[in-house]
């Protein structure tokens, strides 16, 4: 077979292994009789392989949060409003800080705003305190759950407002106890919980400064610790754990619900 009779397209289709078998035979026959042609096919394949080798590492890169968010079902404005009502969380002002890789999924992007500064610092401090104390097998807390009443009384006194330890048994977490943690401006109360798998969560509560408005739930990951945090009625709350976001969110909803009941009293 005369090599020039071989269509260029067939050569590429053959190199890309896309040529139907009945035509592949003709190409193979041509290659067998023409080393230059065979070299071209090899070259095409080597070029493709090199491109894949060069670009495959992109596939292993971590997917940015904003693209994960774009993969979430978009919420209609009505659905979003219903959620906001349900959670009684007002939208707020100012710029989003993405320092911690924050992403709030179920509210959508427009609710991802808060006053810059304090809440982000709060989430980071909460994650650090969680990492420090949850890893402590022997003495994770100062006051154990057996003395819950005196724990709550003590923390309420130190923080200057009524605190409570939410009951998380419905989601499988029992109170371990609590402690006082030094915060930037305000002391922070820490309640620790544990489930049957010895997985620990901490809920941290502190008074916010007067200039900090309410925020929607926000999520941050700091050194592998996931933190849901929000500000409600001048109090900042942070729920931290080494569990995945969905599980943590389920617990956060229970916490929020119980605090709302307390507030309503």
């Amino acid at each position: 077979m005369n090599p020039s009779a071989l269509p260029e397209a067939d050569l590429h289709a053959y190199a890309d292994r896309q040529l139907p078998p009945e035509r592949a035979g003709a190409v193979e026959a041509a290659l067998a009789g023409d080393p230059a042609l065979a070299a071209r096919v090899a070259e095409i394949r080597a070029q493709s392989a090199a491109l894949r080798d060069a670009l495959d590492p992109v596939l292993a890169e971590r997917i940015p949060d904003r693209l994960l968010d774009a993969a979430r079902p978009p919420q209609s404005p009505a659905a979003r409003a219903a959620l906001v009502r349900r959670w009684r969380l007002p939208a707020l002002a100012a710029a989003a800080t993405l320092v911690l890789g924050v992403a709030v999924g179920w509210f959508g992007r427009d609710a991802m705003i808060e006053r810059a500064g304090t809440p982000t610092t709060f989430a980071r401090q909460a994650a650090f305190a969680h990492a420090l104390y949850a890893a402590d097998a022997r003495r994770p807390v100062e006051v154990w759950a057996a003395e819950e009443k005196s724990l709550v009384t003590w923390l309420t006194k130190r923080l200057g407002f009524q605190v409570m330890a939410p009951d998380l048994n419905s989601v499988g977490y029992a109170l371990v106890g609590g402690r006082l943690v030094a915060g930037n401006e305000q002391p922070t109360a820490l309640f620790m919980y544990e489930n049957a798998d010895k997985q620990r969560l901490t809920l941290q509560v502190r008074k916010q400064g007067p200039d900090v408005g309410e925020t929607a739930f926000r999520y941050a990951v700091e050194n592998g610790v996931g933190v849901f945090y929000w500000i409600d009625d001048r109090c900042g709350y942070a729920l931290s754990g080494n569990i995945d976001r969905t599980q943590l969110l389920a617990v956060a909803r229970v916490v929020y619900g119980q605090l709302a009941v307390l507030e309503a009293k």
Binding site: Q47, R52, A54, A60, R66, L67, A71, Q75
Partner: protein, 181 residues
Amino acid sequence: MPPPAPPAAGLPHPDLVAAIPRLRRYARVLTGDPTRADDLVQDALGRAWEKRALWRAGSDLRAWLFTIMHNVYVNQLALARREAGNVSLDAEGEFGAAWQVPVQGNQLDRVELLELVALMGKLPPEQREVLLLAAVEELRYEEIAAVLAIPVGTVMSRLSRARDKLRRMVAEPPAPLKVVK
């Protein structure tokens, strides 16, 4: 996309998430800029949700997403072209110095590979797209034709030109290339 029962509200759709790495790779070589590439992927995902009623169940989701992203890209190019007063963006070396596809890796031969990718940036976008879809994504020519809305014959001629041009550039680099790691 796949309309049958999306997973729990608010969670990223697993089929979309599975497609994201390939969309990012494609977009990155297309735009030559990681941030612009992710912008493009983000826009494409947004469009995909808007148009999900047009998705035919059972067809290849990845090819459909490439189609959407190609359309978003072409629209953005057309807009940029209008704003730039009809400057042709198909000209060689469109991205010039901005061209960069930082990928990780520390083997010595990665330099050569990165050079190859940088040279790919000198191909006209329409050739680059075909080469990417055929050689890297390994789509079938008919799928590529559908994604780019061009005849299969055009896919073949662009592919042939792209490969030939890239081969010649590798053989005789026109100018010293700055490789971005």
